[in-house]
Symmetry: C2
DNA sequence: GTGAAAGCGCTAACAG
DNA sequence: CTGTTAGCGCTTTCAC
């Protein structure tokens, strides 16, 4: 039913190869014939079938993107960055939400292979043995973000989460805080683990005691931040409360602040709270969130740029790109 | 290089059609041969090339999704709904960010056609003549959200934005407010237009004056809410200030509240602010946002369900699905 | 410059 | 039940 290259050829009175040539500018075609072909294309409103094209070219101009949780405000921004660059180079995005489930991710990785995507961007979460197998078994270029593996051959774009968390914690310490709690992310997630490591490192290095009662693990969502804070409030005596809380992301920080406020505690007067990411809400939240700003959009954009290079066989100037972060001082932390 | 169905056939000592049959369970195959084929598939780690498959089947199991702005927290949640249902039925998502630009959207629509997607979900923004042409020219099933057209044949899933905005405004009125301003969305966006209409309707019906100085247009982003509020503050005398502001979405409401707070005005004591959408931040924001809750995830899920039905030739029980909304009373609006 | 024909990897008649 | 074969719509040698 749809019009094919054959129809165009017939209409223009030429061969299909000629049509293909003018469509792709792959070989010189006399201007007279070119015009006839173009006219036919227009008249029939022909649109090439990219499946057929891809099948012979072995190129789909498709990039698979795996995110753990698209509803987490971090990822849409990164995806926007990916999309923008990908589009610029003529690639489109096949999106998969893994819910952080490793089996789902593996399953999707297989689908991506079947769909013959030209490349894959895998955002955060862990890299398991199964992944390693996958890396071995396929030659689809892949770049990962927020999580460099030990494998030298898998390019990645990250920030230095450990150092960022170290700096954030040190910032809190420089403000005079000594009892600093942390609401961490899941420890099987690299960002979760690294940020916890950074916190630990800073505490240790400053000879500050880590009170395990002030340590809670969340899942990067608002609710888990709430729960963590509630638990701290419930289990820790008033006078033992931390003077500062470092949350592994802004969402959890916001959840924690809500609970604090609801319990008549003031932020930052009674307790300082520091976030991580600097999502859109951080500057407008009250108190405006003191946080670690990640170049979220750029993470996506750089990953996409890297992947495109990889796909097109260019050399990467560096396989691991570390992007800068900044501590943004706002109003949720105070000097004591 | 990659292993094809031919390789499997050779390995198993059967014909390609037999391999195809066991892979698709399309025809009975003796269990002995089936086992041999499966063994070969495993041994060679064969993965069918879905391009070739799609080319002959004329079915890609791909759904194109067009969103105006993936960074707007509304859409990721809707996308999650789409993804979940689509996946359940074996479809994957091709994502496009249109930035609200109509030409970009049209361009993407063409790409989707070339990519032979089985269906399209188009979220919000307008439906122009060009779109109409597109609808005419293609037979790809499409469902639109947040924006029903006059075309009876294009299924959609929406909430009644006019009535929701009407109810929201009436709610404010019922609280005793008379000077109610509005920060609307772009009027060429259906949600923007309808919500403004609903506001207008409620005001008129309650014989309340609409002060044009209290009307500002934003673009659904936090910053535009800020700007709108700043402008109102700058141009309107203190004693003429509205007692309530209705923002066309939560982001703008949050932006507005920030400006109010920064200017020493209290929310809701001095000015009430009502939002729309109930994005994740609404309940945790301070003051917790009084808003109109849309079933965001469901909008995506229902749209996807509808589209799948359409693709698979099932009858739709209704072409237009109107989902319920609810006014959520929290702390950003007060009775005066 | 242009056309004929092979083939990308798979499915689905059509025979047997 | 199983194999042979003809395409799906396109690109690309290879001749002319």
């Amino acid at each position: 039913m749809p019009v094919t290259i054959k129809d165009v050829a017939r209409e223009a009175g030429v061969s299909v190869s000629t049509v293909s040539r003018v469509l792709n500018n792959s070989k010189p075609v006399s201007s007279e014939i070119r015009a006839r072909v173009l006219a036919a294309v227009n008249k029939l409103n022909f649109q090439p079938n990219s499946l057929a094209r891809s099948l012979v070219l072995k190129k789909t101009r498709l990039i698979g993107v795996l995110v753990p949780d698209i509803a987490n405000p971090f990822f849409p921004v990164a995806i926007a960055g990916i999309e923008e660059i990908a589009n610029m180079y003529g690639y489109n995005i096949l999106l998969f939400n893994t819910f952080g489930q490793i089996e789902k991710e593996l399953q999707y990785l297989n689908i991506l292979k079947e769909k013959q995507v030209d490349g894959i961007i895998k955002m955060s979460t862990q890299v398991t043995e199964k992944h390693e197998e996958y890396f071995e078994s396929t030659s689809i270029p892949m770049v990962v973000t927020s999580n460099c593996t030990e494998r030298e051959d898998v390019p990645c774009v990250v920030i230095d989460d450990v150092r960022a968390a170290y700096d954030a914690t040190s910032y809190l310490i420089s403000l005079g805080h000594k009892r600093i709690g942390m609401i961490s992310g899941p420890l099987d997630d690299s960002a979760g683990r690294d940020r916890f490591l950074g916190y630990q490192q800073a505490m240790l290095e400053h000879k500050l005691n880590i009170d395990f009662n002030l340590l809670k693990q969340g899942n990067f969502k608002v609710d888990s931040g709430k729960k963590a804070m509630e638990e701290i409030l419930r289990t820790v005596a008033r006078e033992e409360l931390p003077t500062a809380i470092f949350a592994a992301n802004d969402e959890m920080a916001i959840g924690a602040i809500g609970v604090l406020l609801d319990n008549g505690l003031r932020v930052p007067e009674d307790i300082s709270v520091m976030g991580f990411d600097d999502i859109f809400i951080a500057p407008v939240f009250r108190p405006a969130l003191t946080t670690v700003k990640q170049p979220i959009y750029d993470i996506g954009a750089v990953a996409a740029r890297k992947l495109v290079k990889l796909i097109e066989g260019e050399k990467l100037s560096e396989t691991k790109t570390v992007l800068p972060y900044h501590i943004i001082e706002r109003n949720s932390c105070r000097r004591i």
